[in-house]
Subunit: 276 residues, 2 copies
């Protein structure tokens, strides 16, 4: 196969643009997904992403063959030519007859790759955050996992588009949980805090790496419930995910924030992962 | 086209078995759906289903061309030969690049038909209901509509399969909301009650028709919040949807129930819609 620059997709290991119309991913959002940054043909934290995919699939009782999915990823990266790209993995429970009941089926894996242009301006200068009107809902059986039921994020993204924001925070009954497509951290009295995800939210790979690096750098961090008042008190706020990296926050609605030393320190730690 | 008996599908008006792998229905469950009973080539309450589809699509800002979807339904019914069948309509926001933001796109309509065998035994003799461990989550922006984010129902259906139940009730913070694939009614002191769906749940077409007919029959009915204790007090309980009709409930976990006069009266009203 020749080198490609337009998006390409492997459906169950074969180059294809279609999936079965009776796929349960389409019918019920019955599956999980991952998006992975690829820089110079190297996927960032691929094994972490595959582990999370497998954990989410297990939570939904969907069989997940990590080795095969990894092979798909490597095959796509090998034939795709772009300085930076994003791999997307979707794993669904496969096709089925009508009805919610998840009878044993052969899961479908849909792996695709497309070119990606990082936003260095946001990394350097920060972004303004909205507080989304769309609330998250509480579902402990799905909390943390990156499943395909994403209507709340779509509704939030529609709001953000309408209001001219690049990102916004989503709440559950007064508690800040995450951004529409990122996790959120704040720094209060020099200490890092990020919301607990026990009721909802995606346990981001970047979030996990930040918590780990903070520990190694001697920055205290806690995972806990908090509301907007803590963001008001915070010296620093940033959002993160494993594709964008770390975007400092300079404004949340009408609250102004400075880009501070801990944001800078963490950005320096991860800079080489996200930029050439 | 010759008469078919195996399931057939129209994707955007053309006979097809596949949809685009980058469809937002698959990526995010970004769409709505309907299932419609077809008896002797006559779809039951088709216009009501199309109205609800359009209302759900509007809530998600997805364009919905009812006339075209209706044409697809009629085309499938005309070429499909079975005494009873179920039509399924899925309307998604269409294909898009990666990312939650719902940029204007051409929506995809996937309409399919398959043979259906009604369960007369359940209609006549009733069923046992479980109380599902899987809770519903509260999301006012999606309450009532039949959207494609159905993981909670899939998890509940998995529970029911494991425990050997045909249907189960789903709750939100102590309030009964609906069955995993049905709405629920109970009769207390001769009066019909069905749960409020302001926080979650699907506003079933059968539920709407039951409320309307009850009114015409002089049976008092209320839509309100209630918990399991009301089910305990209830003289009668039944579940319903527009494919199964009305299934009386003879047991909820260890609580025994009788099939009573109001269930029988309503079943007689609707019998000709569901059975030959």
């Amino acid at each position: 196969m020749k080198i490609k620059t337009a998006p390409i997709t492997l459906v169950n290991g074969l180059f294809a643009d279609d999936v079965a119309a009776n796929n349960r991913g389409l019918a019920y959002g019955d599956g999980v997904f991952e998006t992975i940054l690829v820089r110079g043909s190297r996927p960032l934290w691929l094994d972490d992403h595959l582990q999370r995919l497998a954990a989410g699939a297990k939570q939904l009782s969907i069989p997940c063959d990590i080795a095969t999915i990894k092979r798909d990823c490597i095959q796509l990266i090998a034939v795709f030519d772009a300085p930076m790209a994003v791999l997307k993995i979707v794993l669904t429970r496969g096709a089925s007859l009508r009805g919610y009941t998840p009878h044993p089926a052969s899961p479908d894996r849909i792996v695709s790759i497309a070119a990606y242009t990082p936003n260095r301006a946001n990394w350097n200068s920060g972004i303004a955050l909205a507080l989304c009107q769309t609330q998250l809902s509480s579902q402990t059986r799905l909390a943390g996992i990156k499943h395909l039921n994403r209507l709340e994020q779509v509704l939030a993204a529609e709001e953000l588009l309408r209001r001219g924001y690049q990102e916004g925070l989503m709440m559950l009954r007064g508690s800040v949980i995450e951004g529409s497509r990122s996790n959120v951290f704040c720094v209060v009295d020099g200490k890092l805090s990020t919301p607990s995800l026990s009721h909802c939210g995606v346990n981001g790979i970047m979030r996990q790496h930040i918590l780990k690096h903070a520990d190694e750098l001697g920055i205290a961090s806690t995972v806990r419930e908090f509301g907007v008042s803590l963001l008001q008190r915070a010296e620093e706020v940033f959002v993160c995910n494993s594709v964008i990296g770390i975007w400092p926050v300079t404004k949340i609605e009408c609250m102004h924030k400075q880009i501070g030393p801990i944001s800078h320190l963490l950005q320096r730690e991860f800079d080489t992962y996200f930029y050439v």
